[in-house]
């Protein structure tokens, strides 16, 4: 909280003059500064802001006087839906891929797997999205180019392409990590014990291979949430989905300073919270992990 406040505040530049443009008159800038509460010293600004926060008040948008908290509440469900959907699908897809490739560990398969995933990881998500639009919306018209309708059956039509793109990126990252940790797990002694004891196949794969390999993967996914929120901003802008990411971009475009600060702080809290949960799950899966 302190950081999000001071990061914004320590940034050189003045929101008031940035908003009014370079040619603004000094009186106008001063007036706006007073309106924003920027004319008092930073410490007092911080106190005002924090005391507001404890009352559930994150400030009010400068552009349309909407409450920042309400905006976050309104836009969050969509973002959450599509992040959770893509994490879910990515998990379902990458667990078999990562385990299979890690278990066989055949040099040629690993080579192809690593090349494909590193190409996908090195490609910016907006470019993947553009290719997706080009193939599925322009040439095949299976998906609308952009837009969103928030009723249940129709929204899937708008959501499937962004979710698919997010999933693709996630699958390549998660399965890579899973592959590495399966290879590591395979060399552990308890795996050999499992083979010698003749544990049944499903039980062997689940308890001896997957469960210990899962801990680093879960930690990674939880740390990835931050990056994923960043990706969400870009994907929501491309597909014009009215989520929290697009709200942030719009707020930045219009120098809506309380809104930017509120969303930024929200993202920070969520990122820390999720990485904490990830550590907890990892501890449940593998007690050797230190909390």
């Amino acid at each position: 909280m302190v950081i999000s406040f001071s990061l914004i505040r320590l940034t050189p530049g003045d929101p008031a003059s940035a908003r009014l443009g370079a040619g603004a008159e000094i009186e106008a800038v001063e007036q706006l500064r007073a309106q924003l509460g920027l004319n008092v010293d930073p410490f007092r600004q911080f106190i005002t802001y924090v005391s507001g926060l404890f009352q559930g008040d994150m400030g009010v948008s400068l552009v349309n006087d909407v409450d920042v908290f309400d905006t976050i509440q309104r836009t969050l469900p969509l973002t959450l839906t599509y992040i959770l959907l893509s994490v879910f699908f990515a998990f379902i897809l990458s667990v078999p891929i990562g385990t299979f490739i890690g278990w066989t560990n055949k040099a040629s398969i690993v080579y192809v797997f690593k090349s494909i995933t590193s190409i996908i990881i090195a490609t910016p998500n907006f470019f993947i999205a553009m290719i997706g639009i080009l193939i599925f919306s322009v040439q095949r018209s299976w998906a609308p180019v952009f837009g969103y309708v928030s009723e249940f059956p129709t929204n899937l039509k708008y959501l499937w392409l962004p979710v698919a793109i997010n999933t693709l990126i996630l699958v390549s990252i998660i399965s890579r990590v899973l592959h590495t940790s399966v290879v590591d797990t395979r060399n552990e002694e308890f795996v050999e014990t499992g083979i010698i004891r003749g544990v049944s196949r499903p039980r062997f794969f689940w308890f001896y291979i997957l469960k210990p390999s899962m801990a680093p993967t879960v930690v990674l996914i939880s740390y990835m949430m931050g990056t994923m929120l960043g990706a969400t901003v870009i994907l929501e802008t491309i597909f014009s989905l009215p989520g929290i990411g697009r709200e942030l971009v719009n707020a930045v475009m219009s120098s809506d300073y309380p809104m930017v600060q509120g969303i930024l702080m929200f993202f920070g809290v969520i990122t820390v919270f999720i990485s904490f949960i990830g550590d907890l799950i990892a501890y449940r899966l593998d007690r050797r992990v230190k909390l």
Binding site: V2, I3, S4, L7, I8, L10, T11, P12, G13, D14, P15, A18, K114, S118, I119, I121, A122, T123, P124, N125, F126, F127, M130, I131, I133, L134, V138, V145, G226, T227, L229, G230, A231, V233, I234, T237, I238, L248, V249, A251, V252, M253, S255, D256, Y257, V260, Q261, I263, L264, F267, G268, T271, V272
Partner: protein, 288 residues
Amino acid sequence: MSNNRAFATNSSRKDRIKEWVARPGGSGIIVGITMFAMIVLAGIIHPFVSKYGPDEFAGDSLQPPSFAHPMGLDQLGRDVMTRVFAAVPSDLGIAFLGVSIPLITGTIIGIMLGIAQNKYFVTLVSSLIDGINAFPLLIVAIAMVAFLGPGLFNVVIILSLLSWARYARIARTRAVVVLQQNYIEAAKLMGYSKKRIVTKHVTPNVSSETLAYALSDFILVIIIVSGLSFLGFAARPPAAEWGAMIADGRTFIGQAWWLTIFPGVAICWSAISLSFIVEGLSRRDRGN
């Protein structure tokens, strides 16, 4: 392999290069360096070779790729290939600045934290580092654009203000390890000054680690710079910049795929070439 190396020192230069490539990850490093050199070179020589300037009208608008214009023409009749190469300084150059400035400051701060005795200083700076690292980089960068205003130069400032924290964390961890090594103890016993120990013994051993991280960070920064441009927060549309060009081409994606694809391929090309180098170096490090 290690036996050969003893002989290799006596052999000719060509053999030594061959031997270097044959070591783990060698081919990947070579491919990566070649690919990266190609795009940098294209960026350097294109003003002398291409027939049009990046903002110059070169023919009817939205012409598909042809022999005269290998990457086609955009909506204002500008040559896309010229623009893709003209964007090299603003993309790779900005990314380079955005990596090297935090690399230097972050390493210095990290080493200072490693050797500092003052508890308050260490706690203060470490919590600042943790605080900055807690936020997703792209999100904070976008938020800071709101206060700095858009522009490529501002992106460098933002990256310098944010990225150092990641380098400092790595440098600090490494510095703490290095300071416990025997050679530091030996240097102390030999009566070297503190300044000499820090500059000649600690810094090289710490910076090798941060440099390695910088290389993989380069990929991330290229993608962030072009991503910010794509959103319209770094380079603005008339400028030749890959992200901005893709954003431009988005309007015409139904009619002119070449406006989007070629700048995107350029980003991928640079990012993939770097990831080849990173992967090659890490394989060499592990020795397989």
